[in-house]
Symmetry: C2
Amino acid sequence: MAGIMFKGTAVELKDDLVLRWSRIQARVRAAGADALVVAANVNLFYVSGRVFMGHAYIPAEGEPCFFVRRPCGLKGGRVFEVRKVEQMPDILRDIGVPLPKRVMIEDDDLSHSDWARLAAVFAGSVAGNGSAVLRQCRAAKTPYEVRVMKLTGARQSEVIPRYAAVFEPGMTDQQWSVEMFRVMLRAGGLGHFRIAGYTMEGFMGTVLAGDNGGAVSPYDFALGGAGLHPSLPVGQSGVRLAEGMSVMVDIPGIFYGYITDCSRIFGVGKLAQKAYDAHQVSIDIREAIMAAGKPGVRCEDLYALAVRMAEEAGLADCFMGLAQKAKFVGHGTGIVINELPVLGARSKDVLEEGMTIALEPKFVIAGTGAVGVEDTLVVTPDGMENLTPCAPEIITL
Amino acid sequence: MAGIMFKGTAVELKDDLVLRWSRIQARVRAAGADALVVAANVNLFYVSGRVFMGHAYIPAEGEPCFFVRRPCGLKGGRVFEVRKVEQMPDILRDIGVPLPKRVMIEDDDLSHSDWARLAAVFAGSVAGNGSAVLRQCRAAKTPYEVRVMKLTGARQSEVIPRYAAVFEPGMTDQQWSVEMFRVMLRAGGLGHFRIAGYTMEGFMGTVLAGDNGGAVSPYDFALGGAGLHPSLPVGQSGVRLAEGMSVMVDIPGIFYGYITDCSRIFGVGKLAQKAYDAHQVSIDIREAIMAAGKPGVRCEDLYALAVRMAEEAGLADCFMGLAQKAKFVGHGTGIVINELPVLGARSKDVLEEGMTIALEPKFVIAGTGAVGVEDTLVVTPDGMENLTPCAPEIITL
């Protein structure tokens, strides 16, 4: 049906959109609903291949409709130009689509005000959280999305080894980060870092040097950092990079609208032996999880595996932070950095084929800084494949 | 009272927070409510001077309470560590604060899910949109905020003239923008560009070259640009900068958690005469609005003045865009880029002392590109003062 829908869209993407719609529709039907309305940018991008101003209406069966408030690339029989969202029911009636008795809208993505406006458009029939359906669908990437994530991971992996060349002795964490941001943007990174949830914020990534690796942040990242200003308390703190500090460079790869998450550790000269040891434990945890992870495996079991290995190495006290410890070792990534699944203690998520997971078993060594690898892995029928296969060792500056 | 509240916070900021609280409280009382609960990061920053994980509870009278879910810099008698938002009513009871009969929460800033969770905490007493109250308060900056905005504008103004030095013939808009972003970040810009509304997105700013100045964008900026990818259709499009193109550089100044908005035009060699003429009309509009603008003046009248001047210059057809025209010539700016007031056709906003407004009368000249100045102005009792006083003329590359 996308052949009719999206004139001008590449065939490969069209076919993939049809697959995405069918996955969404199966979940809409499973939820006992008749339709799902999409308004959030990340979900519009997921269902149409582009961000546009407007809404998508996905019935439980049949072709989706697209209501666009400004001209965009979308063209086709079921693309309608509208001035306001209130026109949707009349247009649906006109084209013979029965109005839904139970419609899902995006509870987690819309502001309450916009939710209420949309709920009024479908008065009396709003039922169920469309955000949850879309988040579930987006967790397991389609074949097209896996290819895009592979390309994204390859580009990020190609950029990371180039960061050492823009380091200069005497720099602060911020000065070096600016040079690394430039390297990433020159390599084609789009820069704009999408995070789900209005309490999460961040710029292009974090560069955590020395004890700033263990600083408490109000944001729910694995490690936070104090940041440069109380208006954005995350990331580099302005500290001067000095001999013996580890520096965790966590600048996501953002290409084609998708995000891979890979961090690597740079050492300013020689680090304490404990840092190298803990870093190796992180690599071992990655290998163990990659060996254990396949469709059907419970995410909480993978988290427990990581915790157990950290304990066995005598490093429980500094695993995933010091004063503030993250309660997870991995998270889905894709259109946003914090997708499903969560590899955490009370996670009910189960691995599915196509899930792309940022695995980040990290340690904070007091007096040295953060160590550990972060990689984006894709779940295949045979196990997990690393999409960010750059060298995992600590890079000495 | 902030003397007790915020140990360690600079006296100047403490005193200003007390002023902000009193302004909020006056509006809460005027709305007939007993309290306002704050959860969104930008509003937490406004009421406490920092982003933290948690909530602020501002009663219509008396001292605010701060409920923090992770340690942050806030310390004092009314700062409470909590695990979850549901603990708020018990703590309020314990300290003798009567539970509100009518409490406002942030309808425009919280997701519906989080809104519903908070509404359940104060079941039966939620009444009124706290976002509107906070937006109104934030529109008219306090004396401390005006000083911060002046510092921000001065720093942005100092950066802009340095962009020409990083231009090289043969660059694309994107290549030049990366170099300009670096200049801004090296000058201390925080980079993270805050925009209100889940449908708005952007990276550090936009650089619109040639006909990309008139490209339609799904985002509600004055001018958009096509962008580099359908996942983020705004800003530079990858076009190679060529003789005769105007380039609108609109990279906000983001310092201290506040944003000033100033764009300047760079010409690649000599532009068509119409571009210089239209640019001068933009400067004339700015001067006319600065002369007319003072407390009590209606924003729609200032918009009408701008439209009239564009018409009189015979430039109505290319004012504020070509195919897609913005319906405003200015907008408040501060903690986010799109604050109140709006200088638009149906705006009900009226100028108040302390408002900081990005005024951007822009023209798009087909075959050349965007021209016009954008400056951030503050409303004083005597008129409007320019916080971004760098030279307004087109800079020839």
